[in-house]
Amino acid sequence: MKLKLLIGMVCLMALPSLARSQEADTTSSRKWYAPDGVTLQFAGNIGLLSVAPSYDFAHDKITAELFYGFVPKFDADEALHLLTLKGVYKPFGKVPLTNDFSVTPLRVGLGLSYYFRSQFSTNWSNAYPTSDYYWWTSSLRLTGGLGPALNYTLPNSSTFKELSLYGDVGTYDLIATSAFKDKTLTTWDILNFAVGVRISIR
């Protein structure tokens, strides 16, 4: 039930960018802030579901996305809301499979998340005896991942250009340092999966 609500919310959030792109068709000049696509991601430590406007740079080799992510409270007292700025680098070009399908062999992503909520602070309390009592910043988390994407060209749509389905294997800063500190932590202890879909706009 909650998941349905979330998907609905995400669709609503995507609407303004679609409207803008249609407007762009008629005026043939897109506003600088109009995104080149909309990305929806499941898991990957940036929310159970997260949604982002997506921007392409450097002939699509680099993509920048700003995700809003949501984590239900599950067994905690409260849900989590976070923003993640994610850069994706695609070192290799698309490999065509058929007329409509192609594969992007590798996407390398790096994201910086900011957590809202009072228990996460950007500065530790000055009540600590030393300024380096805890070395990390609580409200900011660094995530990274890599994986391929399957792309499908949408030939009959005047609004959308391409639909991409991607998968990610990733980790994040704190657990990666734990694995560095203790060699018995296995790869499976620190890795996690994500799947996402991106629709690019004409």
Binding site: N45, V71, D75, F120, S125, Y128, K181
Partner: protein, 275 residues
């Protein structure tokens, strides 16, 4: 699959994605939503409460002799923890184990789960008190969901155990709750032995300077048997205040040491064990 998708066109992609989402949602815990998420299995909830019930079910009589272990600061030392649990499981003379806080480095539910994977395989129950590292990030919510109340107590034989949250800075200077402690101590009047366990010892700055005198005065006033601590990653035994109550601070798991306490009637002793 590609050909099928092509035939049905992009109308097939929607249901396919939803199916994938539904499958992944159920199947796999490798899908993580946030480092700060608190998403637990049934067996990972209310561990203290369930283990205290197991300790009470031992039905140890006041005249019985029993032994318990104090270990502390196990954060991130998974290799040493595995060795410790193996070592402890080789002996069969221990009633239960007390964990003196800092189960985690970052208060992550994932770290608590990994720790419970180790200490959950102990042949005896374990009970944990919250440490300062357990209370950072989203750790307070994670600890509460997994281990329960920050302050708790239980009794076995003629001994009473009081677990106190002393993480002054992480709890915005609202702890330790010394009024609660005094009530617990007053309620322990019928017991021969009283053990008070907390992570940060009162001599540390992070205990809150204004709390030290009253804590030490309470320990002496109620004739506490031992004031037990961790936090400083170093064994220490000393008699502060009026010299009547022993304070014992145990080493960290990385030092490959734990303490074994033996309770026989009113007589309590402890030994340091290296593994």
């Amino acid at each position: 699959m590609f050909i099928k998708l092509k035939q049905y066109g992009h109308t097939a992609l929607g249901p396919a994605l939803l199916l994938l989402l539904a499958l992944s949602n159920q199947a796999c815990e490798e899908f993580e939503y946030s480092p700060y998420e608190v998403r637990l299995e049934e067996g990972e909830k209310q561990i203290n409460q369930r283990n205290i019930a197991r300790i009470e079910a031992l039905n140890i009589a006041p005249e019985d002799t029993f032994q318990f272990i104090l270990a502390s600061d196990v954060q991130g030392f998974y290799e040493e923890n595995e060795a410790m649990v193996k070592n402890i499981n080789r002996r069969n003379d221990i009633a239960f184990l007390l964990l003196g806080g800092d189960l985690t480095d970052f208060g992550l539910a994932k770290e608590f789960k990994l720790i419970n994977e180790d200490f959950g395989t102990l042949h005896m129950p374990y009970v944990a008190v919250v440490g300062n590292h357990d209370a950072v990030n989203n750790g307070q919510q994670a600890f509460k969901a997994m281990y329960g109340d920050f302050n708790t107590s239980f009794a076995i034989g003629n001994s009473r155990f009081i677990l106190l949250n002393t993480n002054y800075i992480e709890f915005d200077k609202q702890v330790p709750d010394l009024d609660w402690l005094e009530k617990e101590l007053a309620a322990s009047a019928g017991y021969k032995n009283i053990f008070v366990l907390s992570h940060i010892p009162p001599g540390n700055y992070e205990f809150g300077k204004e709390n030290r005198a009253r804590y030490e005065q309470l320990m002496s006033q109620y004739h506490v048997t031992y004031s037990l601590h961790g936090h400083n990653h170093k064994f220490n035994a000393y008699y502060p205040y009026d010299g009547t109550v022993p304070y014992v601070q145990t080493a960290a798991a990385e030092d490959r040491e734990y303490l074994v306490f033996t309770v026989t009637g009113e007589y309590v002793s402890f030994e340091r064990v290296n593994f």
